[in-house]
Symmetry: C2
Subunit: 127 residues, 2 copies
DNA sequence: ATCGGTGTATCGGTCCTATAATACACTGAA
DNA sequence: TTCAGTGTATTATAGGACCGATACACCGAT
């Protein structure tokens, strides 16, 4: 599940770890209620510091993906597909807002973005 | 033109300055061929270091927005609307690629993004 | 009660970025 | 030539992000 972790990558280790967990949950490899690897266990397996794993798990917990139970472990959160879908929508809107800000700062308009979106994803757009 | 510059903002000063110039050019407040404020002059006006202004101007020069002439000043570049439009398109695609990476890392799909785009901008989307 | 598992909290070091400071080099007009 | 203006280059400082080390606190089985 964590085979793609690369300490030399420019993206932070804790983000890589969190990403692995997210895709594992999305793909069903990690079912709701199931326990994640322990902080120490994963740290030993990846030969990194426990605190780094903690940071990844805390991010996931902040997003409601997992729950950390002191003394017990970290578990995939039970949420209805509807709620999870809503959560994704919220985050997607946040990403789009940031995109629009960045673009505006460079004088790039919504029409430029929608065209680029179409080119990169194949999703067609109309006004 | 630089009234919105805020040293306490989390976005770097040089980006704020570059953004101001870009919108000034886009709005026509700064015509092609016209000179920008000198590095020292703007630095004094904003009470910041000249090197910070330089970094902003260099970014703009790298994007082809302005031309820095040693000993003379920094001038808004003459470019055809067509070329400028192409440049915007390139940057827009770059922004979209980054958006897609960020989203994938969080398990957010293209469909989530296109819906969010629609919500935030009012632009309708179809597959 | 104890012990081996778990997460929690705090500190310090390293690296990178943004910004500043300062000295340098070019241009055009007097 | 000289000088006041301009951009250029190099080095130094402050701050933050990332990661590691280490000590602490909780839980459940024995």
């Amino acid at each position: 599940m964590f085979s793609s972790i690369d300490p030399r990558s420019p993206v932070p280790l804790y983000e890589q770890i969190a990403a692995c967990v997210r895709v594992a949950v999305a793909s069903g490899e990690l079912a709701a209620g199931e326990a994640l690897p322990s902080v120490r266990g994963l740290a030993r397996e990846l030969r990194i510091n426990p605190a780094t794993v903690v940071q990844a798990y805390r991010d996931l917990a902040a997003d409601g993906f997992v729950e950390m139970r002191h003394g017990q472990g970290t578990f995939v959160q039970e949420v209805s597909p509807l709620l999870r879908r809503e959560e994704r929508a919220v985050q997607a809107r946040e990403l789009i807002r940031r995109l629009l800000e960045d673009a505006a700062r460079r004088g790039i308009g919504v029409d430029d973005l929608s065209r680029a979106f179409q080119v990169e994803t194949g999703v067609e757009i109309r006004e």
